[in-house]
């Protein structure tokens, strides 16, 4: 049961991911990314992280990506034109990527190859209650700092997007 579930959504995620980087139009990429996020959220559910899954949908799919689409609409960004080039990327890109993926995959296989199995419902620690408990006891300071970070981000965004810029 779990395995089919996983294969299904992993496939969706990978396909959407590929389409993110292959689509010519930003909106298409954005929607593909939403697809990736949605499937990842489902995988979170399968991993027993129900709160994180919902947060994933609300924050990423519901807010961040909407912001992206909003900006794309605002700038009416069309399909990108092939102007300018980075010979670095052209030259080293593919081999470097393949090398990285290879090494990482090898790492994972050699370290976590037999690190155990994941069955739905074998981890119940992901409920909103437990996450909130951990967040407000052990990780309180990071939490507060994050709030400050968000405040700063708000100010920065406002200052940057002001009409009378420059």
């Amino acid at each position: 049961m779990d395995i089919f579930f996983f294969i299904l959504f992993a496939t969706i995620a990978v396909v959407c991911g590929i389409s993110v980087i292959l689509q010519k139009h930003p909106i298409s990429s954005a929607l593909s990314l939403v697809g990736v996020m949605g499937s990842i959220a489902v995988l979170y559910l399968a991993l027993g992280a129900e709160f994180i899954a919902m947060a994933q949908i609300i924050v990423y799919a519901g807010a961040v990506m909407v912001l992206f689409i909003f900006v794309i609409m605002l700038l009416n960004a069309g399909a990108e034109q092939a102007a300018g080039r980075s010979w670095m990327a052209q030259l080293l890109g593919i081999p470097a990527l393949l090398a990285m993926f290879g090494v990482v995959a090898y790492f994972i296989q050699s370290y976590f190859g037999n690190a155990g199995f994941m069955k739905f419902g074998n981890f119940k620690g992901g409920s909103a209650q437990s996450v909130g408990m951990a967040l407000f006891t052990d990780y309180l300071l990071p939490f507060e700092v994050t709030s400050v970070l968000i405040l700063v981000a708000i100010l920065g965004a406002i200052v940057l997007a002001r009409k009378e810029l420059d």
Binding site: I27, V66, I69, M73, A128
Partner: protein, 395 residues
């Protein structure tokens, strides 16, 4: 296995009821607005225009679906289905009543009982914006683009006060599962005041309720916040270019959203399916109302205002009396009462939606935004703080 069968049955039932309800909700809206404006509203198709929705559906299906020139075809077609899908999904976690037993099978009156149900609803409703935004962008029309931009900005802005307003009753319920939230509101204090979130608790959530309803109007793009489809500025906003079924999809989405938010408001603030009155009396409320309605129909049938009423109204009267009798039928009472109360409350909220649409003018866009950020958001925040403080104090 039987779990699957039961689920499928419930699915079919809810889908049928809901879609019909959506169709007839539009009829109700037209009727209510007509009577507010002292008109008669739909009257020709069937008795009192009761068949009007069917006529509309036929019309919309048979109409030609126009595809404007050089639009992004895929997104143009994707948008309405996205919208209606997101609107309908969230119904699936809403409990209409308690646990019932049919032919020995016990089941809950809902499709799925997530223990993060509320977050799920929030998530799905936040996805709803994609439909509108994509529609506006993909139909390659400046009016619809503006509509899409407005709707995305507006929905993101009103998500915040809505979420904050939702958070405060959660503090009192202490759970994210809708069913448990409703159960936490059971009972009465002083014997007659129901323990609904709006009334009870260390801090009555009346403010949260109001804030939630206002935000709900914005979330569903209803008047007075229907900027994305403001006729006199943007022709028809994001669905200018849409016609036939795609257009119908947007309409369905809007009404489905209304139903969803009203149900959520009922569950969170109005105690779900819990009756307004203590147990023994509450069972008689429903039959009495229906009987009264039947009697009213008969009386109007006696001295009709219009010729056809002589025949139609008595029929309605008979139907109402029959329903009243059904409500009295002992074995069905425990199953029907909660549903009745739930539907009554939701229906009342829906009526409020329609009523306000008939009453209020439309906001200006900057007013809309200023209202959201400078009044609604701080108010919700304050309410949440006070609630949290009091809950911590009395818990």
């Amino acid at each position: 296995m039987e779990f699957l069968i039961i689920t499928v049955i419930k699915l079919a039932l809810i889908a049928f009821v809901l879609l019909t309800a959506l169709a007839y909700l539009q009829w109700v809206e037209r009727k209510v607005i007509a009577h507010v404006q002292v008109r008669m509203g739909p009257y020709r198709v069937g008795p009192h225009g009761l068949l009007q929705p069917l006529a509309d559906v036929v019309k919309l299906i048979t109409k030609e679906g126009v595809m404007p020139a050089d639009v992004n075809r895929f997104f143009y077609l994707l948008a309405p289905f996205l919208a209606v899908m997101m609107a309908l999904i969230s119904i699936s976690v809403i409990p209409f009543g308690g646990t019932i037993e049919v032919f020995g099978y016990r089941t809950n009156l809902e499709l799925a009982d997530l223990n993060v149900g509320l977050l799920f609803i929030l998530a799905v409703s936040s996805m709803g914006v994609y439909g509108v935004a994509l529609a506006g962008w993909s139909s390659n029309n400046k009016y619809s683009l503006l509509g899409g931009l407005r709707s995305s900005a507006q929905m993101i802005s009103y998500e915040l006060p809505m979420s904050l307003a939702i958070a405060s009753p959660l503090l009192m319920a202490g759970s994210l599962s809708l069913r448990e939230i409703v159960n936490s509101q059971a009972g009465f204090q002083l014997g007659f005041i129901p323990k609904w979130a709006v009334f009870s608790g260390p801090f009555p959530q009346i403010f949260a309720f109001i804030i939630f309803m206002i935000a709900a109007f914005a979330e569903t793009n209803r008047i007075p916040f229907d900027l994305p489809e403001a006729e006199n500025e943007l022709v028809a906003g994001f669905h200018v270019e849409y016609s036939s079924m795609t257009f119908a999809a947007f309409f369905m989405a809007e009404y489905a959203n209304m139903v969803t938010v009203c149900s959520v408001a009922t569950i969170l603030f109005l105690g779900g399916w819990h009756p307004l009155f203590p147990m023994p009396y509450s069972n008689f409320v429903a039959p009495l109302i229906l009987a009264a309605a039947g009697a009213l129909c008969f009386w109007h049938g006696m001295n009709p205002a219009r010729p056809m009423d002589k025949y139609t109204l008595p029929v309605f009267g008979v139907v109402f009396l029959g329903l009243a009798g059904l409500m009295m039928f002992p074995p069905l009472v425990p199953a029907l009462m909660p549903v009745f109360w739930f539907l009554a409350k939701t229906g009342f909220l829906l009526f409020v939606f329609i009523w306000i649409r008939a009453t209020l003018p439309r906001f200006r866009y900057d007013q809309l935004m200023r209202f959201a950020w400078k009044f609604l958001f701080p108010a919700a925040l304050l309410n949440l703080l006070v609630t949290g403080f009091l809950v911590a104090l009395f818990a």
